[in-house]
Every structure is written in C-alpha cells, then in structure tokens.
C-alpha cells in the first residue's frame, strides 16, 4: 500500500508542472506520505516493494524495487520536508522569470526530488545508482539553468564531469559486488557479508569495494580531490544551491556509506582513509571559506567543510552521528542559503558582501533567522549543530585524539568565518547604496520568509532528538530509531567508550573556542570589514589554494592537447596520409592498365561480379 502511494506520487512528479502550485503541491503530498511512512517505520514496519524485474540475465536478477526502513525514512523526511519549503520559497524567488523558463525550473526541481527519492528508496545498488546519476543530471540542469551565461554552463559541465569520475568508482564497485556476491540487493548482500564476516574482514575484495564506493561518494559529496565543482555550482539559482548543493544531493555519499555500513565496518583500512579525507576536506575548505567575499561561496565552502565532518563521523564508525549531522546540517544550511537568497533578492542580485553591511535594519526577519543559523552551525548549545557535531567529535576523540584536535580547530574556524560573514553582511554601515541607486533594500515576501522561519525553528530544536547520553539518559531517540540499520555492523565494530568527565571536557573545549572566535569575528568585522583585495597568504586562500588552476594545468589542458594531437596528427597526417597514399599508388598503377579500367566504380563492380562468376565457372569445370 505504501509502495503504491509512493509510486503514484513519483509518477506525478515526473510530469512537467506548469505552475508552482502543482510543483510544490506534489512535494507536499510526498512529504505527507513520508510522514505516514515514518510513523509506520517507527512502529517497526519495514518493507521491500517489488515493482518489476528490471534486468534479469542468466543467474543475475536486478529487480526494480523499493525499500522503506529507518534510514530511508529519515532521508525521505529531510528530502521532502526541506524540498517542500524550498519549492515554496522558489515560487517567490523566481517570479521574475518568464513563464516558459519558470515551468522548466519547477520541472527540473521536481525531477530532482524524484531522482533523490529513487536514490534513497532503491532496495539495491543499481537503483541507487540510477537515482545517483539522475540527481547529477538535475544538478547539471539547474546549475546551468541560466544557460545564456557561458560561465554558468561551464560550471554545470564541470559539476557533471567531476561527478561522473566519482560515479565510475561506484559503477566498478557494483561490478565487483556482483562478481563476488552475485547480488546487489541490500538485504541479500548484507546477510551474505554478515554470515562470512570472519573471512571477509579486511580482505582485498571488501577493501576494494568500499574504496571504490567511497570514490563515488567523494564525487557526489564534494570531498578532496573532487570537491571543486561544488563552489562553482553556486552559479545556479539560490534555492537550488540550498536544496541540492547543501541539504540533500551532496549528502547522498553519506547515505551510501551509512547504507553499506557493514561493508565499511569490515574494512578498517578504508575507514581510516574515509576519516582522513573527511578531516582534510573539513579543514581545507574551512581555510578557504575564511577569505571568500561572495556570500554564496562562503556557504559553499562551509558545506564542503561540513560534509567533511560527516565523513569523519563515518570513518570513525559514528554512523548515527553522521546521519544526525546530515539532518541538522540540512536544516541550518538550507536556512543559511535561503537567507542568503533573501539578501541577494533584496540587493538586486548583488552577492559580494563587501557591498552589503548594516542589513540588520532593513531585513529584520532574514537577519534574525540567519543569525540563528550561524549559531547553529557554530555549534553552540542548545542549537542543533552542537549535538550532531559533538557526537562526531566525541567519536573522533575515541578513535584518535589527533582527529579531535583538528576537528575542533575546524569547528573554531567555522564559527569564525560564519560570524565574519554575518558581521560583514548584517552589521556596521550599509555600503550598497550605490548599487541600489540610493534605494533601501526591502524585506522579502512572505513566501520567502515563512520557509526561513520554519527552518530557523528546526535549526534551533532539531538537535533535541539526539541529546547525548551524558546530558540526559535515553534521550538519544535518533540512535534508538536507527538502531536496526546499524545493528548488524555494530557486532563487528570495536567501540571505544569515553568516561563522562572526558566527554564534558571535550564539549566544553569546543564550545569555548567557538564562543571566543565568534566574539572576535563580530568585534573585528562589524566595525572594520575587509573591503580591499587580500594580500599575502590571504590571497592564496582567496584564490582557493589555486587548486582549480592546478587541475586546469595538469588535467584539462593536456587532455585538450591530446585530443587536438590525435585529430590533427594521428588522424589527419598518419592514417589519412597512409590511406590516401595507398590510394595514389593504386591509381598510379591503375593508370598503367587503363585499357581495362574506365575509372568508374560501376564498372568495377560489374567486373568484380563477372570475375566472381568466372571463378565459379572455372571451378565448375575443374570439379567435373
């Protein structure tokens, strides 16, 4: 029954909605369904719904089927809930667009939600892959939505290609899984793995598979080395950045690893890699975020950094923590992006924070909600970001204190750059009068502010589903809820336990650092914002460590060069020359026997057929 409902709704979402009402309406509908599913699942009902046989060849059978369980229901709620708010917001944000493009926008957005639901609902890796590439396509379409701008389409192309590189890892992993286990269905596969855990643990196959899957995740979730597409993806409309490039799509990699938790638990080597890459990305992106002046770029690097946190959580085995952070991050990052969108809207498409300032006075609702979002991401209790970040950091400390130190430094930097952004944008003097020709910016319409308010409330209270054991007994309801998903793998995990006093200490240290840096940032940037071009090391950071330039020099340029070389030299000079050379030799020699040949292909064919016949006639007589 549930499956039927979902399916009906999914089909509807495929249809091109002509109005925003239809567009948002279907998402609202699926949100309601998601809620129903959630309560069903909460009572312990999980289901696999088989729609039809997708591919079945020989012994291999890949069904087109959906699976509803605790993990997918959490993601369902996030996707449809945040998705609905963003659809409503978009209706106002995009109102300047012409009718035809407006419809195109909502069609893409609905297609995105459809693909994302496919991704989390699929009951095997192939269906997940279908959704996986589908969201990549939608991301491409939406980044390049304003297609007349060639830079935007370049950004879209870059996003797609970098995702593709990751996708190949995923694809090869699927091949390997099928080769090794003969199935891609989660249920069957994980049972097999659990049954053979002893022999599989640390084996080449499991390490290889998990590493390849992780490559897929680095593409989609923007981790080193495939992260550079995400900041460029900010070329898309801001609500898109909020939905796809902050709240949902980029967390697909976390979903994938959380889903495959049992494989990862049996591959300690991969876990170390995941943790290190996550941590490195978190730190690296945070350093870049400190010096960005585009309001969306700061948020983009912050997203990359937060995603790094989630991978750190996965790497140290804190699966619940990672999923928890996905959830809280979806709330506060969507809020921040939508807030930024509201600012950009008010500033008539100005994104440079150096030309803002003092917006607190003009945009009261945006200001307040944005501030709440900043506090949440900075990890101040009792806001949502605190609980999820704390859970990951505590697990990191248990695995390796060095992870914790770097993690806390990154958290401090996060607090710093977020409040630098906040102070430069909302505090101090208004500096955008020139851009607006003397007008004041105005607060956005209700369709935009209401989603902001809802998300702000969620950012504040969203963390209360996962209050750690030390603060309140049995209050971590998310952990209890997700328990069945991670139960199988926890048997093989080697958990570390922290004493309560250590845990208090860790919490205190990270909160203290964040608070100090927040006040420092506000004090410094509200009065004297950085208006000039950065110099020295700041310039390196502002230019993102020149990674784009590096990739360009070592990958893009050589590829172009090889393509040209093959085309101009190998194809034209070598192969064509040989072919034409042979042709010339033949035509020269044929001139010598010109009497026989007229130079017309028709007569060649005739001669050839005659020749064949002659051949047969001779043969006929020889045979006799």
């Amino acid at each position: 029954m549930i499956g039927f409902l979902i399916n009906g709704l999914l089909r509807k979402q495929l249809s091109k909605s002509l109005t925003s009402i239809l567009g948002s309406g279907v998402i609202l509908g699926s949100f309601v369904v998601s809620l129903l599913i959630f309560f069903q699942v909460k009572q312990g009902h999980t289901a696999v719904v088989n729609l039809f046989d997708f591919i079945s060849v020989g012994k291999l059978s890949i069904p087109f089927s959906f699976q509803v369980d605790q993990l997918s229901s959490i993601f369902l709620l996030i996707i449809t809930g945040v998705g609905f708010l963003i659809h409503v917001y978009s209706a106002a944000y995009m109102h300047e667009e012409e009718g035809q493009h407006y419809a195109r926008y909502f069609a893409y957005l609905n297609l995105f939600v459809f693909s994302m639901l496919l991704l989390v609902l699929g009951s095997n890796y192939v269906i997940m892959f279908i959704g996986w590439e589908g969201v990549g396509l939608c991301s491409y379409l939406l980044i390049g939505y304003w297609f007349k701008n060639i830079d935007y389409t370049n950004a879209a192309k870059k996003a797609f290609v970098m995702n593709r590189i990751g996708d190949l890892g995923f694809l090869l992993a699927i091949f390997w899984i099928i080769g090794k286990f003969g199935t891609v269905s989660y249920g069957n596969l994980f049972e097999q793995v659990a049954a053979n855990a002893k022999t599989l643990e640390g084996s080449a196959a499991i390490v290889g598979i998990t590493l390849l899957l992780f490559i897929g995740a680095t593409g989609k979730s923007a981790q080193i080395p495939l992260y550079t597409w995400l900041p460029d993806a900010m070329a898309g409309p801001t609500p898109v950045s909020a939905l796809i490039h902050a709240a949902t799509m980029v967390t697909a990699g976390i979903y994938m690893i959380a889903r495959s938790n049992i494989l990862y638990t049996l591959a300690p080597f991969t876990n170390t890699i995941v943790a290190i890459i996550g941590l490195a990305t978190a730190l690296f992106a945070a350093t870049i975020a400190i010096k960005q002046n585009d309001i969306k770029k700061v948020l983009a690097y912050s997203t990359v950094s937060q995603l790094g946190y989630m991978f750190l959580g996965l790497g140290v085995g804190a699966y619940t923590g990672a999923v928890f952070h996905v959830m809280t991050h979806a709330f506060f990052k969507a809020l921040l992006f939508l807030g930024a969108g509201s600012v950009i809207h008010a500033m008539h498409h100005e994104q440079d924070i150096r030309r803002m300032g003092g917006l607190k006075k003009y945009l009261p609702i945006t200001h307040l909600t944005f501030l709440l979002g900043c506090i949440a991401i900075a990890g101040i209790p009792p806001f949502s970001g605190f609980f999820s970040k704390d859970e990951i950091l505590a697990a990191a400390y248990a695995a390796n204190p060095v992870y914790w130190v770097i993690g806390v430094i990154t958290a401090g930097m996060t607090a710093f750059y977020m409040f630098r952004l906040y102070a430069t944008t909302f505090l101090g003097q208004f500096r955008g009068a020139e851009h607006l020709h003397g007008h004041h910016p105005h607060e956005s319409p209700a369709a935009m502010t209401i989603p902001l308010i809802v998300l702000a409330i969620l950012s504040v209270i969203g963390g209360w589903v996962g209050i750690p054991e030390v603060l309140m007994k049995d209050a971590h309801s998310l952990e209890h809820f997700l328990d069945p998903i991670f139960a199988a793998s926890s048997k093989f995990a080697h958990p570390h336990h922290l004493s309560h006093s250590t845990e208090y200490g860790l919490m205190g240290a990270s909160v203290l650092l964040a608070v100090i840096l927040i006040f420092f940032a506000i004090g410094r940037y509200s009065k004297r914002p950085e208006l000039g071009e950065p110099t020295g090391f700041g310039k390196v950071l502002a230019n993102k460590w020149y990674v784009d330039e590096l990739y360009n020099a070592i990958i893009v340029k050589p590829l172009n060069w090889i393509g040209k070389f093959l085309n101009n030299f190998v194809e034209r000079d070598v192969i064509d020359w040989t072919v034409n050379g042979v042709g010339k030799v033949i035509s020269y020699s044929s001139r010598q026997v010109r009497l026989l040949q007229s130079g017309q292909v028709g007569s060649y064919v005739l001669l050839m057929v005659l020749g064949i016949l002659a051949f047969f006639v001779i043969q006929f007589f020889v045979k006799k």
Binding site: N154, K157, L172, I612
Partner: protein, 484 residues
C-alpha cells in the same frame, strides 16, 4: 516465405519510387513511406506471433530455403532467430524514419534517391537473415553500392572523396571476406565431399587451428572495417559527415550493426577456438577504440564528424563485449546495437535539421539555440544524455551489461573502457553547450521543430526511454541466441 516478402517489398518499392518519380515526386515519397510501413508491419507481426516461442525455444523461428545455383551448392536460404528479428525491427523502424527525414531535404532526382535508400535497406535486411554464405556476400554488396550512390550524389561538398573512401574500405574488407568464404567452401568440400555454402553445413566443418585463424581473419577484417574497429575506422567520419541526413542515419544506425552481427553470427560460431585465442587482443582494440573515439569526438568542431566519432567509441563497447564470451556482455552488446542505432540516428537526424536551418555543421558558429528552439533543445538533451549513458535510458542498460560482463574477465581493460564514460560526458556536454547553450549567435532565430520532425524525434526518444526502463522484453528475445 514471409522473409522473402520483407526484402521483396523493399526491392519492389524501390523500383516503384523510381518509376513514379517520372510523373510525380510526391507520389514517389509516399511509395517509399508505405513500403517501409508495410515492411515494419510484417516484421512487427512476426515478432508478435513468435513472441513466446523465441523466449522458450532455441529453434530458428522461420527458415526458408530454395535452390538458387545448385551446381555450386548455392541456395537462397534465409532464416531468423531472436537476434535477427530484433535487428530487422530496428532496420524497418529506422528505415521508416529515414524516409521521413529526407522528405524535404532531397530535391533532385528524388525517385532514384528513394530507389537507393530502399535497396540499401533491402541489402541490410538480407544480411540479417541470409544463412547461405554466398547469399550473405551477395546482400553485403547490395547494401554497399546504393549507399555509395547516396553519398556520392546527394552528399555534401566533399562527397566524392568520402564516397570513394567508403567504397574502397568496405570493398577491400568485402573481398577478404569473399576469399575467406571460398576458402571455407573448399575446405568443407574436401572434407565432406559436398560443395555447399550453407551456414548450417559449414558449422560442422572442422578446421586445423592454423587454417581457422586465417579464414577467420578474412571475416573479421571485413566486419572490423564495418563496425568499425580502430584503426580501420578512417572511412567513417568522412562518410558520415558528407552523407545526406538519411544516409548518415542508416550508416550509423544500421550499416555498422551488420559488422557486429557478422562477428556474433559467423566469427564466434564458425571459429570458436580461433576467436577465443584472439579474445584479449580484440578486447584491447575495443577498449582502445572506446577511448580513442571519445577523445577524437571531443576535438571535433564539425557536428556530424563529432557524432561520427562517438559511433567509433560506442562500437568499441561492442567489440569489447563480444569477445568477453559472457552471456551478460553479449546481451549488453545486442542492447548496444539497438540503443546506438536509435540514439546516434537521432543525433544525426538532429544535425540534419540544424543544417537545414543554419546551413552549417560547424558548432563554433552555433550557440544559444535553446532560446529559439526549446523543443529541439529538450530532445537534444535527451539524446546527449543517452550518448553519455545516463541511467533510465537504453544506452545505460547496454553499457552497464557489457561492462558488467567483461569486468570479471578483464578487470583492467574494463577499467580503461569506463574511462570512456568520462570522455563521453565531456564530448556530449561540450556538444550540448556549443549548440544549444551560451549566448545567442546569428541574426535570425531558427524555427523550432515542425510536426514531422517532432514525430521523428519523439518516436526515437520514446523508444530510448522504453528500452531504458523495460529492457527485459528485448533481453528475453535474444536470450536463446545468446545462450548458445
């Protein structure tokens, strides 16, 4: 007998077009359209009728044989199984659309044009069902000569050169095949004392490994030129880019498939051992072709040449998959034949439509066309995604199955082949961007799709999506053939 009808209707239709055009060119077009529609109806009814048989029994569905030149053991022997049936469906389907494509494009010697078009299609259908090697060779030539005329008469500015090159390449391959056929014929005759060209008789001939290798080489080169395998691909970009739209569509959509069909039907079954011996090399050439073709596609500025090189790349998957000797891979190969026929056919049709409007094939001179033609842009997007193998579309199923099948056999070569998928994304998106996105170039915005064009593109688009969502019927249809 019904098989003879399929070919006969095309041959007769061709003559009719030629004759009618003396009085009225419009009538000639309709004659071409109707004979293809009738043909499609026949094939369709056969597929309907034998739908269940093909799934469960490993027999030939229809087998028809009469003596032709009994003195040499030549018979007119045609038969079809699931594989032939699927490819015949594709032939008539694309043939019908090819006629629609040339509705307004061809203004000179219309009757003779449709005569050639239909005869090429007749040759292709013949190739897909001939079970006598002499007859096979005969059809092989029948599809070649009219194609030569199509390129040489109705082609673009450099058509002469392209047509010659096409003819010489395929003819050289064809001659080697003829030699190989004759060699096989005589070897069989000395062994069994029976002179016959019949495929089923020749299947039983036992060859010394050395002989088998040489005879196979003759077949393989002919098919490799047709497929094409790098480095025998050189004729293809010229022929594809110079041919008229329908010509490119048939070249890419159908003619290339005859090479793949030949390998599956003849090389693998007649010389199983020799084929297994060269499997690694063949797969290597396949993987190299995938990457090489893709990189070249990336470097092109001529839209039709670009699409032509994507064919080289996609056909590399076919070679890779065939020589993996795995059921899954072979299923993927057959799927690839269909989806490539549809996908690339659509891209060529689109290139033709653009050329009609803009009078250029240079993508540097295009740009921003989405604003003026959103319908075509949307269709182009669909087929661009198909060419880079996006899931939910048929080509994904094809490439997925091929790579899945080859991975356990040759993990390294498969990994190289998957690199082709990245390049595919690069060239496909570059094409999309240069033509449809970016700032608007050119003064007057071109018209969007006409209803006729929309029918062509939508039909192709729908079949692509259906193959991507429900590939199982096709997989079932060829299951028994592949199983053997």
């Amino acid at each position: 007998m019904i098989l003879v009808w399929m070919i006969g209707i095309l041959l007769a239709g061709g003559f009719l077009c030629w004759l009618l055009a003396r009085w009225n060119t419009q009538l000639s077009k309709w004659a071409a359209l109707l004979s293809l529609a009738a043909g499609l109806l026949i094939v369709g009814s056969v597929a309907w009728q034998y739908g269940d048989t093909v799934r469960s029994q490993a027999t030939w569905l229809i087998d028809y044989r009469i003596n032709w030149i009994p003195a040499f053991g030549i018979s007119f022997h045609v038969a079809i199984d699931g594989l032939s049936l699927v490819l015949l469906l594709l032939t008539f389907f694309l043939g019908l659309l090819a006629v629609l494509c040339s509705w307004n494009e061809i203004r000179e010697r219309t009757g003779f044009y449709f005569f050639n078009l239909l005869w090429t299609l007749a040759g292709i259908s013949g190739v897909f069902m001939a079970m006598d090697l002499f007859l096979f060779y005969f059809f092989w030539e029948v599809m070649l000569v009219p194609m030569y005329f199509l390129i040489a008469i109705w082609g673009d500015s450099n058509r002469r050169y392209a047509a010659y090159k096409f003819f010489i390449f395929t003819q050289a391959g064809g001659l080697l095949m003829l030699l190989a056929i004759l060699a096989l014929y005589f070897v069989n005759a000395t062994q069994s004392g029976v002179y016959t060209f019949d495929y089923f008789d020749l299947l039983n001939v036992s060859l010394a490994p050395e002989t088998a290798r040489w005879i196979m080489a003759g077949f393989l080169i002919a098919f490799a030129v047709k497929l094409p395998v790098v480095p025998f691909h050189n004729w293809l970009p010229d022929a594809h880019s110079e041919a008229p739209t329908a010509g490119s569509l048939i070249l890419a959509g159908l003619l290339l498939k005859t090479g793949a069909y030949g390998i599956i039907r003849f090389v693998l079954t007649l010389f199983p051992q020799a084929a297994a011996d060269i499997a690694w090399w063949a797969m290597l050439f396949g993987a190299v072709g995938i990457v090489y073709g893709a990189m070249l596609a990336y470097a092109q500025t001529d839209l039709k040449r670009l699409i032509a090189y994507t064919s080289v790349s996609h056909m590399g998957f076919v070679l890779l998959g065939v020589f993996a000797f795995r059921e899954i891979a072979l299923q993927g190969v057959i799927m690839q034949l269909l989806t490539h026929g549809i996908g690339t056919g659509a891209l060529f049709a689109m290139a033709g439509m653009l050329k009609e409007r803009l009078h250029t094939r240079d993508i540097e001179k295009m740009g921003g066309l989405w604003s003026a033609m959103p319908a075509m842009g949307g269709m182009a997007l669909l087929f661009t995604m198909a060419s880079l193998g996006l899931p939910m579309l048929g080509s994904f199923i094809a490439e997925f199955l091929i790579l899945l099948g080859t991975f356990p056999v040759q993990p390294a070569l498969t990994s190289i082949a998957t690199l082709g998928l990245i390049f595919a994304a690069l060239y496909s998106l570059r094409m999309m961007q240069k033509v449809f996105l970016g700032p608007v170039k050119g003064a007057s915005p071109p018209k969007d799709l006409t209803p006729r064009e929309l029918i062509i593109m939508a039909t192709l688009g729908i079949s692509m999506v259906l193959l991507g969502l429900f590939p199982q019927p096709i997989l079932d249809m060829v299951k028994m053939t592949v199983h053997q």
